[in-house]
Amino acid sequence: MSTNMAENQQINPIIGASVPRIEGPEKATGRAVYTDDITRPGMLHAALLGSHYPHARILSIDTSRAKALPGVKAVLTGADLPLNYIGMFIKDQLPLARDKVCYSGEPVAAVAAVDLATARQALRLIEMEYEELEPVTDVEEALEPDAPVIHEKRDEYPTMYELPEEPNAICFTEFMEGDPNTAWDKCDAIVEDEYLVPAQYHMYMEPSSTVAEVDGSGKVTLWSSTQGVARSQMYTALALGLPMSKVRVIAPRIGGGFGGKCEFTNQPITALLAQATGRPVKLTFSREDDMTMMKRRHGGKIYMKTGAKKDGTLVARDCRIILDGGAYADESPEVSPVAAFFSQGPYRIPNMRVEAWSVYTNLSRASAFRGFGNPQATFASESQLDDLADQLGMDPLELRLNNALEQDDKFFCGKTIEKATMRACLEKVRDASGWAAKRSGGRPAAPGKKRGIGMAGMSHISGLAGAGANVLLNEDGSVTLNCGAVDIGQGSDTIFTQIVAGALALDMDQVNFAAPDTDSSPYQFQTSASRNTYTIGRAVKKASDDVRDQIYRHAGEILECDTNDLELRQGGVVGVKGVPDAALPFIAIAGRALWQEGGPIMGTHNWLYTPQDRMDPKRMLLRGFALMPDGIGIFTFGAQVAEVEVDEVTGQVEVLEYWAAHDVGKAINKTSVEGQIEGGIVQMLGYALTEEMLWDNGRMINPTMMDYKIPGMADAPYKIHSLLIEEAEESAPFGAKGVGEICAVGPAPAIANAIKNAVGARVAQIPATPERVLTAMQSADDAD
């Protein structure tokens, strides 16, 4: 048809425009409806009892006093639930613990009552008897032969991959390229170190929340704070033993996710309570419950060794990554392979071996979190590159430029690079930050402080899994987009609306974005893997193009012209090129289709992200990886520079200014892209400097916003310069790639490298708390 012609047309100016968020006014005025704002007739309120112990056998649970409390409608324990294990790659978890608990805070009982105060009071009346077991809280101790076994039944769980022998191991991955064993002889400089990364809490503003209701036919409807309605539907159905056709999930406005609301949160237990009581049930966690019961980023240890020649050419790397998966596997079988995959960074390292473990511990479960294993690996690799540059007497940015992946190179494991933009990112951030002058000691520091500048390069992906979109032409010529994508606050509703508006030359208010609802939306994996703009956007674009082609077919018949001669005009008009008077509004096309000829116009597109090539087993050794990272997405690149001041008295680090160059393909909405980048950097400022979930013998000691500190406005750099590199990606909608995660990969090493530049001390453990920085400064002084 006319597709090629149309795509050669100039891109509509709405693409790239900083259109305000479509849901902005309702959020700013407090009218946005989040899950906790929803009330159903006769609705009950629920609360969960968390385990007091990190590792214990449940000897008995007495719920009789709780059940007797007036207003209590149901008290459930693990024994009351069907034995349906859930999980992504290994089904190792139940909605409530049964027989034993594996982390402190693990839900052991659930109460639904007439109000929240009654539900919470009932929790205090539940009597538990435990037999304490020794907790495993260290990743290396977990792998020791005499370590207490956390999941005695691990090998009986349904599993999609090969389990390692070590009973506390969740998964093991090994990749190898070249000949890393002999390559060390060719190195003039070798750096070796051990890096420690913390468990970071997602700290979405809205704690996990679900409302569940069962109708007369037994069908369960959930309103939930989720990153994917189809995922919540699948896990809830599995836990309840229902077909997915009996579970409906609707996503209201979502107050942040960052990976923590992928897969499932509290949907299954809320649905079980609704079933047990026959009444609607709301379960919204307190912050403390969310922090102790829900998910977090993988902490862990990384051993890394890197060697280079005198001229700075990287030769070899060896890396061992051990991530703390916590009590249940969740997405761990993907996270540590992704960490392994990105441990080479966006550089040529011909000889490389990496092994990566996720292990069970008696800490809360680790999950997806913005960057998905990459920030951990990149903290180690980018820190190490700076130490290597120091040893070689080279500028660290030059070292990276010398080794940056170019277009003809293959990524680690032999993967094709779609657009090699690493060099462009490095050059852009170098020039914008005034790198050379600052690095040579440009500006003086405030009294009592030392100033430094540091950088990091990074790569990530954008893609993953299946996406569908439907675009319906309404009777009045406006359109409705339904793609089932959840906007978790990053702005995808607006982006998709812009894509439809851009593809059909409509104004923003002529496009209706339909809220995600499994009863009506096409399949959508979930909001993750930097995939919304790229993967879902592509389906949205092609569904819109489908509508355009159908409009052209009608218009060609009415105007008696070849469809190649047609064009779209702004505001929902199709016309003949070069003939201003020959034009038809979409309402006329819709009317014809609905009442005269052809039937309703609905464009559809469904696709599955499929990699150009698989990992190359001839090129390298591959062992024990799950689905990812073989086919997770197209590559994206970035480079970031941080300028810091370090307080000589306290060791406190302040990030003054930040530069971030990112290859975004094409910014659909420039302000939104900049917002993503700024948000990623500030979130990871916390990862770099203050955020760390702490446990004392398995019990979390800082599960509040008072004790666990995220950066606030006053802690952010006074200026973050988002530098966009726009080289259109052919497979992408209008060339656009996702930037939601890669911006979060660089800050920790960029800041750690800036600290080293300022005070000469390497901080190999994040967060770089004032105490750790001061200790590192003192050891560096002692060494001098």
Binding site: V649, T650, N702, M706, Y708, I710, G712, A714, T769, P770
Partner: protein, 277 residues
């Protein structure tokens, strides 16, 4: 739980003394958070906001009187708090975030007696006097004797803190509350409250207290004496810092280890002096 809003202080005192489990509520910045966390379960909440004599700041003679229900924001914004009282204003300015400063009151903060909070050290450094009202009358308690231990004051159970009196003297003094915390708005990891007067190069008055360094502000008369009359040389301040460091008894917690907190006291004292000089 009952809620009563008496119109006068005597009425409030009568309710308080009749009920051991009653608690006074001013801004609620701390008490409401503790109620939410189930840490306290009072039988009655006595709302103090209708009692006019507890509100506001007035200057009378040799002191500035800050009513107990005066908010942190009011204190932070009052430019009459200069000289010796500047340390109190500087502390108020740095408490938490503006939303909390608009709600929280000096009386509530002081009676909670969290040693990690900003007012206790600042009031000790300002040599403030706390006025306690009881049914039998009022008594005045020097700040040094008010803060006894972690969350413990010398206020009797049937007393209400009515005001904080900050001396105007010494004229020409300057005050600084140097707060070091993990993030803006956090409780201090260490704070130094310092009042100094300098006349022709020599220190004519010095009073320093360290917060977050023990169960109550760390204040040593010998340190004040060491600084007073000196030229505030680096060596003198180092000695003073050393003594405060030795007297400090901080805890290990999420904000820092006890050892680290002790270690940074001398350097922060030097910084506070430099900022005032």
């Amino acid at each position: 739980m009952k809620y009563i809003e008496p119109a006068s202080l005597p009425e409030a005192l009568e309710i308080l003394s009749a009920d051991d489990e009653a608690r006074c509520l001013a801004g609620g910045a701390t008490l409401v958070a503790m109620l939410n966390a189930d840490l306290v379960e009072p039988s009655t909440l006595i709302g103090l906001r209708r009692i006019d004599e507890l509100a506001g700041i007035s200057v009378s003679g040799d002191h500035i009187r800050i009513g107990a229900t005066t908010t942190h924001a009011q204190i932070a914004g009052d430019d009459r708090l200069t000289g010796n009282a500047a340390v109190v204003r500087d502390a108020a300015r740095q408490i938490a975030h503006s939303a909390i400063r608009n709600m929280g009151t000096i009386g509530g903060a002081v009676c909670h007696a969290d040693p990690n909070a900003d007012f206790p050290g600042a009031l000790v450094a300002a040599n403030a006097v706390l006025e306690a009202a009881g049914q039998s009358g009022r008594r005045q308690i020097p700040a040094d004797e008010f803060f006894l231990d972690y969350l413990e004051t010398s206020l009797e159970e049937d007393e209400i803190l009515s005001a904080v009196m900050v001396p105007v003297e010494p004229v020409g003094a300057r005050g600084r509350h140097l707060k070091f915390s993990r993030t803006h708005g956090d409780y201090a990891t260490i704070s130094i409250s310092l009042v100094l007067a300098i006349n022709s190069g020599a220190c004519s008055h010095a009073r320093v207290a360290v917060g977050s360094a023990g169960p109550a502000p760390v204040h040593l008369a010998e340190v004040d004496a060491l600084l007073t009359g000196s030229d505030l040389s680096g060596e003198t301040i180092k000695q003073a810092g050393q003594k405060l460091m030795e007297a400090a008894d901080p805890v290990d917690d999420v904000r820092g280890s006890a050892e680290y907190r002790r270690m940074i006291i001398p350097g922060l004292l030097q910084r506070a002096v430099d900022e005032l000089r």
